[in-house]
């Protein structure tokens, strides 16, 4: 019986994880940039929700798009002014650059918001659903549904919009895309901005589940790594599969060994996946 509860917890968590990772995966897959800012983007989104609720009584679900657009603007300008300058440099350069940018952003957040852990406490609380012995907190269910909707929205955007097709075209063959009239620089900036949007919106959603602080941006970044590698890089499906796998894995490890084992086991799994099956569960190399 306990396994049903663990399964439910894992699935609920997995939906949120998919939304956390999908933007990271998009940027990695299309731009070939590992965006180490992603964790701080998520936290910044969560702070938008926190202050929106504390100051204006704005429900975190409503501030999610606002946080998304704030991060969208930040992401667009970062990519257009800084990251694009080194986008063709070796991996070491782009990785170190985003690390440096993350130090800047994270330090700024520490100064602005302090290191205290904060959480949006909804008044009144949403309560829980009971299916026989299984308890499902409603706030988590709502977050999962919204996160999955958001992820599905990204999928539709990539599949049906002109911008989405341009992004996919760049991912497949940048030179050919340029020859077909795709504005490479602008599309790359839009890609990074969309990745940041997803991070900000997901951050807003998780502010009602997790306590947030600039200090735990690294936790969410780590989860994004694991999800991308396990699920397979650069596709929406990969992020969902990876997210749900990580959600289930964390719930099961917590049950079997204790919650403190969740991080080492998920990272050990990441290394094992990289060593044995670097294409992830969905088995597609990159986005192709």
């Amino acid at each position: 019986m306990i396994y049903l509860q663990v399964l439910a917890n894992g699935l609920v968590l997995g939906g949120l994880y998919a939304a956390i990772a999908v933007g990271f995966s998009l940027v990695w897959g299309v731009l070939n940039v590992i965006n180490l800012l992603h964790g701080s983007f998520i936290i910044l989104g969560a702070y938008v929700a926190f202050f929106g609720y504390a100051l204006f009584g704005l429900h975190p679900f409503l501030s999610a798009p606002i946080a998304g657009f704030i991060l969208f603007a930040i992401g667009y300008s970062l990519q257009a002014t800084v990251i694009n300058r080194v986008i063709h440099a070796p991996v070491l350069m782009t990785l170190t650059l985003t690390f440096g940018l993350d130090l800047l952003l994270n330090n700024a957040m520490l100064l602005a918001f302090k290191a205290d852990y904060r959480k949006v406490v909804l008044e009144p609380p949403l309560g829980s659903l009971f299916f026989g012995p299984i308890v499902l907190p409603l706030d988590r269910i709502a977050v999962m549904i919204l996160a999955l909707l958001m992820t599905y929205g990204l999928y539709l955007l990539l599949r049906d919009s002109k911008l989405g097709r341009a992004i996919i075209a760049i991912r497949m063959d940048q030179e050919a895309a340029a020859l077909m009239g795709v504005n490479i620089l602008q599309t790359q900036a839009m890609t990074f901005a969309i990745g940041a949007f997803m991070a900000g919106a997901a951050g807003s959603l998780l502010s009602i589940i997790y306590p947030i602080s600039p200090l735990n941006s690294i936790t969410f970044l780590g989860k994004a790594f694991v999800i991308c590698v396990i699920g397979g890089l650069g596709s929406v499906g990969g992020a969902i599969v990876g997210g749900i796998t990580l959600g289930l894995l964390e719930s099961l490890t917590a049950l079997w060994f204790g919650p403190e084992y969740a991080v080492p086991i998920s990272f050990a799994l990441l290394i094992a996946f990289l060593a044995v099956r670097p294409t992830g569960l969905l088995g597609r190399r990159g986005y192709e």
Partner: protein, 306 residues
Amino acid sequence: MRTLAILAIVVALFTALIFGGNYALRLATIFSMYTTLALSWNFIGGLAGYPSFATAAFFGLGTYASAVLQSSGMPMLAAWLLGGMVAAAFAGVIGLAILHLKGHYFAIASLALVEVLRELVNINDQLTGGGMGLNLPVTQGGVTQQALYFLTAMLTLAVLTLLSAGAVHRGKFGFALRCIQQNEDAAVMLGVNARLYKAAAFTLSAVFPGVGGGIYASWVHYIDPSDAFDILLSVKPLVMVLVGGLGTLFGPVIGAAAFLALEEAVWRSFLTIHAAVLGALIVTLILFLPNGLMSISRRRLKANKT
């Protein structure tokens, strides 16, 4: 320019040793440690061109291995060396598993090593003290005497690392690594045993930080997981090498000195924003000086010639 920089560093070191002052001794010890880390990273990151973030894993492993060995009664020097061996063995084995990865995938795998080891140390609190940290046996002697002793140890390690780096740079080994960096497939075609050389470079990049971690632990008397496995220990050496010049022999030494000078200046005046300053330094470096400080003089030479 390069000779001048090296000369300046040597003079500064000797001044620190002779005229002492515990602050100067401390700085010289940290400089030796940074040099060791930067030179070590250069084996895998500079010469072979593999973006490793595992330095903190090796350092932390050496730190904890030697601390645990010492608390079970092993003499200090033996514990340091064994700490280095543990780090090297770990790198050799794990290297065989992850060195076939390229680019981002290798970077992520090496980064994950740090996280896994830190959490494992956190969990096994019977052995390691967990998040409470671990106290090391107190060493004999006065403050200055101890400071001198650990400086000598760290400096010896740095010199040994530099000597090995020199041997590697001049020998066939370094040549093979450079081939791998430029075009691994071509190198393999020409009969370079890339798998072996990469694993050897990864092991070399682990053994010195491992020993250095052991010395560091004895020097500061107290270690905890977030300190020993600090991800900045992976990033700083890489920044130093970028400052000094990727894949060069003396670049890491110069980079370590420049980095330490900047770090001290920043720590002293802007404690709350030192991470941001480090971030700004990294961003400036990558955007404007991707070939390191030494490229300035080279560029000027070129400008003079034309």
